[in-house]
Amino acid sequence: MTAVEDRPKTEIGAARKRKEDQRLITGRTKWTDNIQLPGMRHLAMVRSPFAHATITGIDTSAAKSSPGVLAVLTGEDVKDIQGGMANAWPITEDQKAPVHPAIAVDHVAFAGEIVAVVVARSAAAARDAAELVDVDYDELPPVLDLKEAAKDAVLAHPSLGTNKSAFWQFDSAGAGTGGPVDEAIEKARADGIVIEREYRQQRLIPAFMEPRSVVCDPTGEQLTIWTATQVPHFVRIFTALVLGIPESKIRVIAPDVGGGFGGKLQHTPEEVIAVLAARHTGKPVKYTETRSESLLSGHHGRDQWQKLTLAATKDGTVTGLKVDLLADMGAYLGLVTSGIPVLGAFMFNAIYKFPAYQFNCTNLFTNKTWTDAYRGAGRPEATYAIERLMDELAAEVGVDPLEIREKNWIKHEEFPFTTVAGMTYDSGNYEAATARARELFDYDGLRREQQERRDRKDPVQLGLGVSTFTEMCGLAPSRVLGALRYAAGGWEHATVRMLPTGKVEVVTGTSPHGQGHETVWSQIIADKLGVPFEDVEVLHGDTQIANRGLDTYGSRSLVVGGQALVMAADRVIEKAKPHAAHLLEASVDDIEFSGGQFKVKGTDKGKAMAEVVWAAFSSHDLPEGLEPTLDADATYDPVDFSFPHGTHLCAMEVDTETGQVSMRKYVCVDDIGNIMNPLIVEGQVHGGLVQGIAQALWEEAVYDDQGTLVSGSFVDYTLPTAADTISFVTDNTVSPSTTNDLGAKGVGEAGCIASTPAVVNAVVDALRPMGINDIQMPCTPERVWKAIRSAGSDQADATTGDAQPHFDAGAPNQAPPDPSSSASAEGADQ
């Protein structure tokens, strides 16, 4: 009873707890690695320890005779059947890319590349045998540094003849969206301000919670692949294309998936190898990567050098922006590797009215793990660059960073606004979000405190950082993707199935992996069809059930998939109306639907949805021509992207004695349009913030000069935990999107895109009086301290790229004491 009384008036907008969390958090669910099939075999990969080498021979005999081993496959064994891993986004007509075999045949291009696979009765037997595979390598010089790669002196793939994969340009003069940028810069050099900076987007590792795992069962008419992926539909299509298996013979299931952050937007060599091994042995096989393998060979993210030239008048009105990127592809092009930096092309101008803009991007190969989508994909890089530059401009003009932004941003009455990059922003209100954030943050109070600390030369200085971000998400209008030479479309599909007993099944083509779609989709359907929230079941991630779909990434699921769902629900109502009319002996035109009831206009005669559904199911006396089903589906191709925005304010304390930085306060006011579930939004924002802050302060994938991943475990890849963060203050302004019926904008990436520059701006702001105008990310205490120490001199100190061993291979402990080895200890005694 109370449950019914407590029921919110509308489900949309209610802070529902996520219905999927019980099973996800307790682990009482089907993760891929939990799957056990009769006769299942296990795989272990043999990976190259070298970044660049020729394979001169592989001896698998010892491995093959190891107990429990069924087969050992090398690249040579499968070279005629394994095809090549696909790149779905050739950004230019003449894009160059090396062939990317799932198992390397004669050449390895990064440390971690698979050179053989062992199939055995148990995972332990497979691992034991993998240690026995003897591979002969001839080492080749690796190219690791992006700027070195641009010189083409050392080649990542000698057979390609160059490290350059592609050059891509957007020019506002050429596109007719603005003026020529070089003229703007010339003019600014003569009588305005030119800010020139070079920023580094360090390499990051998605580090999802559940390592990737794949099970392949070849023992049926359809080959069934369970995989921990964000993109089961892509895995199906690309398994068909890469291996030449008819798509109709493949079923892909993404069961519950433990996070992805773009890191599972991939068709992986491991997925191909599982199919090869299953077909070779005729047995179901399983492969689950270790955390080390995940960090080493799951795709990485970011990794760019950004050369930026901002032109402005003396009063700080921006007149042009030129961007020159070097983007690290790593060793190969994954599914969308090449397009990631290009996704940033439309966002460097951000919320501002720039009259001229040019974006140049050179994609380069190196002998490192390939990069690809990582939360934000292209937009965090752009947002970082422009939000850092706006702070630099403010400092140059000598005004507050918020003031310089206000001078340049699009005013709320100017929406819809077509930008210099050719995007049309549908709605937004930067003034409102900023005013609210300022108030929550006590911006003026903190500025006063900053001044006091400066005045009294406090060893702990305070810095305030601003990020007034926007981003484009809701990927994506198919026509735009086509124009960008992306292979697929950007639509989404939904089916609403009305079950005879009044319950509802929703089938979505999106593929949640932690977002809470089951909850929100249920909320939407509950409101739309007037059924209880609990009566809605959301099905996803199995190509046999959700046969149409383009999966989950790019903050697209609600704004594209949710809209498809709304359309399908509307169709259910339209289909039900003639049924209701028949039951109510009224004309269809007189039937209205609201609150779960079909009513005859102007009367109190009505039928509940459940009654209509049952009548359609039993279909005992349907009039001729009426189909005995109310089920409906819809495919929706978005008319445009969605443009969430927000104002993020961050206060950082910097201990100038040690370089330690700590967060004092973080306020964000995001405008993501109408909110379906504030609790889920809060979760997405918090998680995103931490991930973006982590780029600013903690995370970096570091390689040594041999091409070995130094940060190959969580000892050295310093992923933050809750213990490293503070309580964030979050709030929203609401400017509904005008491009979908829900009025929603994406929120999955917003926090991650916005927070990075806010944090670095704050750190730099604290140190600016010392003449410091940049700290390279991550802003480690060492980097901060070195910047302070060398402030004034133009050469920043280099930092070191080694790991400290905590699990030393030699760890003797029981070695006989050797008196001579105690010398260092004694030497240090004072």
Partner: protein, 284 residues
């Protein structure tokens, strides 16, 4: 992460453990809490033929009061040490340091003995044990010997515990009434020390009467900053006096250079952290 095959024995007494070790010979590994050993085995950095698990040896667990000394059994977990008032009262800097080790899960499993024998220079218990002038009780086939902390740590991952021997106890002279502080410097909460300083001081009438300072991760073993200890004697517990006395904290050290910082940076940190630790320990 599957280790190579090994035989497993779990004796219930020190005597049985020693004979199990003797029997297994070269290729045996002792396991305490397993928090360092298991990652090594799982990453296949080491593949012993036999693992001798000390987990069932009750006589190695617990904290005892032995007059002038507090005695901690080698198999006492971090969590049990944290719960011990004896340690908190008489060897406070060890409690302070252990509060900073890893996370609750690891503190629940990891042992003080295991940490000392593992001898990771970035580990947090070496410096306080050294600063407190503890003695390490090592038991072998030939019986028991006692090694002063200053002679216990030999090198990176290497201690005075020889093949076929066990660390059985840590004997700490009581430092009752001494103030203490462990200053651990990290980038993220669950990290090993980039540098840490264990300081314990006795203050008399506003001045420092005695000071003991151990440095973590400033060389291949934990180190004592004896020059600073001496310089502090008789100094007022004030910022300026302590700053001056601590200026030499990094002298003669040879810290590593790695992703978290190079040697110069660590030396600088050691100086700052020593000052902060001493001031806090002195209640200033």
């Amino acid at each position: 992460m599957i280790p190579a095959r090994f035989d497993y024995v779990a004796p219930t007494s020190v005597a049985d453990a020693l004979s199990a070790l003797a029997e297994a010979g070269d290729d045996a590994k002792v396991m305490a809490g397993g928090q360092s050993l298991l990652p090594i085995l799982r990453m296949r950095l080491n593949a012993p033929e036999t693992v001798v698990d000390l987990g069932r040896i009750e006589e190695l667990r617990g904290v005892r009061d032995e007059g002038d000394h507090v005695v901690i059994g080698a198999m006492t977990t971090y969590a049990d040490v944290l719960a011990s008032d004896l340690v908190r009262q008489h060897a406070g800097v060890l409690t302070d340091a252990i509060e900073e080790v890893a996370d609750p899960q690891i503190r629940h499993r990891g042992t003080v003995g295991g940490a000392l024998v593992h001898a990771d220079p970035a580990g947090d218990v070496g410096a306080p044990v050294l600063a407190l002038d503890a003695e390490l009780v090592v038991t072998g086939p030939g019986g028991e010997r006692t090694v002063p902390a200053a002679e216990f740590f030999r090198d990176l991952f290497e201690t005075a515990v020889g093949e076929g021997e066990l660390l059985t106890a840590i004997r700490i002279p009581k430092h009752t009434g001494w103030g203490s502080r462990y200053e651990k410097f990290v980038r993220v909460a669950h990290q090993w020390s980039i540098v840490a300083v264990a300081a314990t001081v006795r203050v008399e009438g506003g001045a420092i009467a005695e000071a003991r300072i151990g440095l973590t991760n400033m060389g291949s073993t934990p180190l004592r900053a004896t020059a600073v200890e001496q310089a502090l004697v008789g100094k007022a517990a004030t910022e300026d006096a302590v700053r001056e006395a601590c200026a030499a904290a990094a002298e003669g050290t040879n810290p590593p250079s790695d992703l978290n910082g190079d040697a110069d940076y660590r030396k600088h940190l050691a100086t700052v952290l020593t000052r902060r630790a001493v001031l806090a320990a002195a209640g200033a």
